[in-house]
Symmetry: C3
Subunit: 119 residues, 3 copies
């Protein structure tokens, strides 16, 4: 905890997933919400098969799901999602001619049944 | 919002993911539940490593997760999942000799912390 | 139902995803919580793009999400997650020099809107 799941569509050809993950992890550390930097587990997936809506025109998106152990306030969750969204916007180089949507959701991990071990 | 996550096992060799996504998006637009067609962000993943149960015999599945901003009624969610399931059934050509399961789940996106930008 | 989503980082080079899924499915059958073995639908994804924390040093992880139709008690969910975590630990051969985190979460599938067909 936390877990970060980043997805981006394959038509965002200049998207640097490694850079995005590192930036997200730094933003989460900087939030002061998490005890140890090594707890942050993030992954990125390039989406080869996707469809935005039903219209013509090229469209793409980046979506981040941030999963946190339950118990944080709505305010903190909103701050975290806004912070991650701002970080995504900064990544820039979106291809010309592609309508790009960036979104961030926050989801609770059920604290009681979450199990973890490190070794 | 909404987000659609479709997964299908690699042994469903005739499954047309692009067609499935387009059909799903059209069904969601037709539901009248969403403001703009371009808000619907759908992706499909082919599962190369999977296991259904513990028995012998070839088995596969298609699973769709529909994620909606929180606040919709149970009735509307059920109508949406039934509609998407019906659309999957229509896709047909399931391979002979493979037991196929199709399933649809609906999950809430936490409205308060959901953040989005388009550009 | 249930659905199992296993992810593992690509630097866990000896991780046997097929073996892990089969072991998970057997553990779920043995739990007595599920009506039929063929209901258990599990998949594994190798994560090529990932980042654990912000520090140096090689790190990896395995994460399992178990999705169950809603209604089970917190105690049963905890028993299931502990059982799956124990199974992951037994898989062993973690590479020398990689700090490995194993985690299991349990999530509810909304029972009312879950739709399924088998054929």
């Amino acid at each position: 905890m936390p877990h970060v799941f980043l997805e981006y569509t394959a038509n965002l050809t200049d998207f640097d997933a490694d850079k995005a993950l590192l930036r997200i992890n730094h933003a989460l550390v900087a939030s002061g919400q998490f005890g140890a930097e090594f707890d942050i587990k993030s992954r990125a997936t390039k989406l080869e098969a996707f469809r935005v809506g039903t219209g013509a025109g090229e469209r793409g998106f980046v979506h981040v799901k941030l999963a946190l152990l339950s118990g944080r306030s709505a305010q903190i969750k909103t701050q975290l999602s806004e912070s991650l969204l701002a970080g995504l916007k900064d990544l820039g180089d979106w291809p010309a001619g592609v309508e790009v949507q960036l979104s961030v959701e926050v989801v609770d991990l059920d604290r009681e049944s979450y199990a973890k071990v490190t070794f």
